[in-house]
Amino acid sequence: MSQTRIEIRLAGSGGQGLITAGIILAEAAIFDNKNVVQSQSYGPEARGGASRAEIIIADGPIFFPKATWVDIFLAMSQKACDQYSFDIKTGGVFIVDTTYVRQIPTSSAMAIPITSATRDKFGTELFSNIVALGIICETCGVVSAKALRAAISNRVPDGTEKINLQAFNFGQGLAKETIKNNNGVEAEVIEADT
């Protein structure tokens, strides 16, 4: 493919807010003046089934809307990690939530207990998806923090903007800490695969 195409996959189980996170990421890309397509795949269950959001970000037109060669992968359940990590690009960013993912398929993954850290900090798991966005933003820089903050404010329920933005900052902090401890992959901005 001639132009930049960044593929992001967020996978976990229904109810974790990953499709919402995908929508926010996609909207942030638009705020950054990029082209974007977001698609989703989920089971018939409202809660607990496999759930996956995919976001393609590019400077030019996007044809095929699904991820085929993933640059950034977030796994928030063991099943999602097992099923959807096979097509991660070599050198891609692989973030796992160790609250749920016990067996990590590669040592190059960035292992962060996203859900339990969120629970400890905010007393609820509700903001885990936004914390994950903070981590993705800090680790990959594929969309700007400014755009993500704007998209979060735009898409979360009225009255929860402040706490969601706190969750985003918390996620950024978690990522920074993990990188500093050299506990995972080195943070670097994804280069265009020209």
């Binding site: 929508i23 638009i30 705020f31 397509v37 044809f63 095929f64 809307p65 704007a150």
Partner: protein
């Protein structure tokens, strides 16, 4: 919201709902069903806020009955559903065809038959949209292949329904319905709205099924003072049942004539890189996305491949193929069904080019690489 840019993130279903509003739809009756639910959800919010009506019915039989009533009452009316609900609508869809009631059904296709795969994409309802209701009848079926087209084709569907006094089906697949993309929609003032022709003669002279020169009869709204009869029986120009062979013929043939007259307008087809093409991919809905990506790869490897993108499935735009058949050696028809449009392509092709199909019915989309591989095999 970001005020700097006119671009926004929008889902296909959301775009279809926006298209309905932009086209002037003022009545929605429906029963929520994945993967079409967002259309009902959005219109439940937006229609009442804009002076329209939204009713959640007890089922899809009631839903189409309600929009038929609303349409006879003078509203532009629309419903949205998926395969199982579309099946329930077939009987009244036939009624709307014969009684010539303008209405729009958006069917966001899921895997089938039966309850099938509610959250997975499919293109299995292509022939159901054509022949699901019994008896000889023409039908208009549009199929968007992007979020923006979900908007524009819903507008067109409402306009065609009004112009031709005929039910129109917007056949989306789950990929297009649920996909979100960056879109820029035109302001409402830039959207063309077509309104059904109303009678201008005194009520006592009005013949509800007397066709004008366009092939379409003016349609009075119930409550406007024009008394007339609407029936599912074959009827005469007054709208009353008839067994007279000539009147019966005129009734049924008239349904076809109006669509035949509008054939060129009704057929939306786009061509991409077809000028020098020796091989073509015929695609619609989400398969266009895979095909475009495949096209890019095939062209860069020097193969003269083009894309014929069908925006209208019924009436089948045969001229789109006939025009290019003399220059084509092969045609590939990728579909998320076992080959429903493939048969139409075969029929029109009449043995001139080599036609192959590429099918998938496992709830996932055919990838660009599969198309590339198949076309390379065919063009070797």
């Amino acid at each position: 919201m970001n005020k700097k840019s006119s671009y926004q993130l929008m889902q296909g279903n959301e775009a279809a709902a926006e298209g309905a509003l932009a086209a002037g739809v003022s009545f929605f009756a429906g029963y929520p069903i994945t993967p079409s639910t967002e259309i009902a959800e959005i219109l439940a919010d937006r229609l009442p806020a804009n002076g329209g009506k939204f009713i959640q019915m007890e089922d899809e039989i009631g839903s189409i009955a309600a929009i038929i009533g609303a349409s006879i009452g003078g509203c532009k009316a629309l419903t949205a559903t998926s395969g199982p609900g579309f099946s329930l609508m077939q009987e009244n869809l036939g009624f709307a065809c014969l009684a010539e009631i303008p209405l729009v059904i958006v069917n966001v296709m899921r895997g089938g038959p039966s309850t099938g795969m509610p959250t997975s994409p499919s293109q299995g309802d292509v022939m159901q949209a054509r022949w699901g209701t019994h008896g000889d009848h023409p039908i208009i079926v549009l199929t968007p292949s992007s979020v923006e087209e979900a908007f524009h084709y819903t507008v067109k569907a409402v306009n065609f329904a009004e112009k031709y006094r005929n039910p129109v089906i917007v056949l989306m697949d789950e990929v297009i319905g649920h996909m979100r993309a960056r879109v820029s929609l035109p302001p409402e003032s830039m959207v063309e709205r077509v309104n059904r022709v109303q009678p201008n003669m005194p009520p006592e002279w009005y013949l509800p099924y007397e066709r004008s020169a366009t092939g379409v009869a003016p349609m009075a709204s119930f409550g406007d003072g024009y008394r007339y009869h609407v029936t599912g029986l074959v009827h005469d120009a007054k709208g009353f049942p008839t067994a007279n062979p000539n009147e019966s013929r005129d009734n049924i043939r008239g349904l076809f004539t109006k669509i035949e007259r509008g054939f060129r307008e009704l057929c939306i087809v786009d061509y991409e890189q077809m000028d020098d093409a020796e091989h073509a991919i015929v695609a619609y809905g989400c398969m266009v996305l895979s095909a475009r990506s495949a096209l890019e790869q095939l062209r860069s490897s020097g193969r003269k491949v083009g894309l014929i993108k069908l925006g209208t499935l019924w009436p089948f735009p045969r001229f789109a193929l006939e025009h290019y058949l003399p220059q084509l050696k092969t045609i590939l028809v990728p579909e998320l069904n076992m080959g429903q449009i493939y048969r139409e392509v075969l029929r029109v092709n009449a043995g001139k080019a080599v036609i192959e199909k590429l099918n998938r019915v496992n709830g996932t989309i055919i990838t660009p690489n599969e198309i590339v591989k198949t076309v390379k095999g065919m063009t070797r």
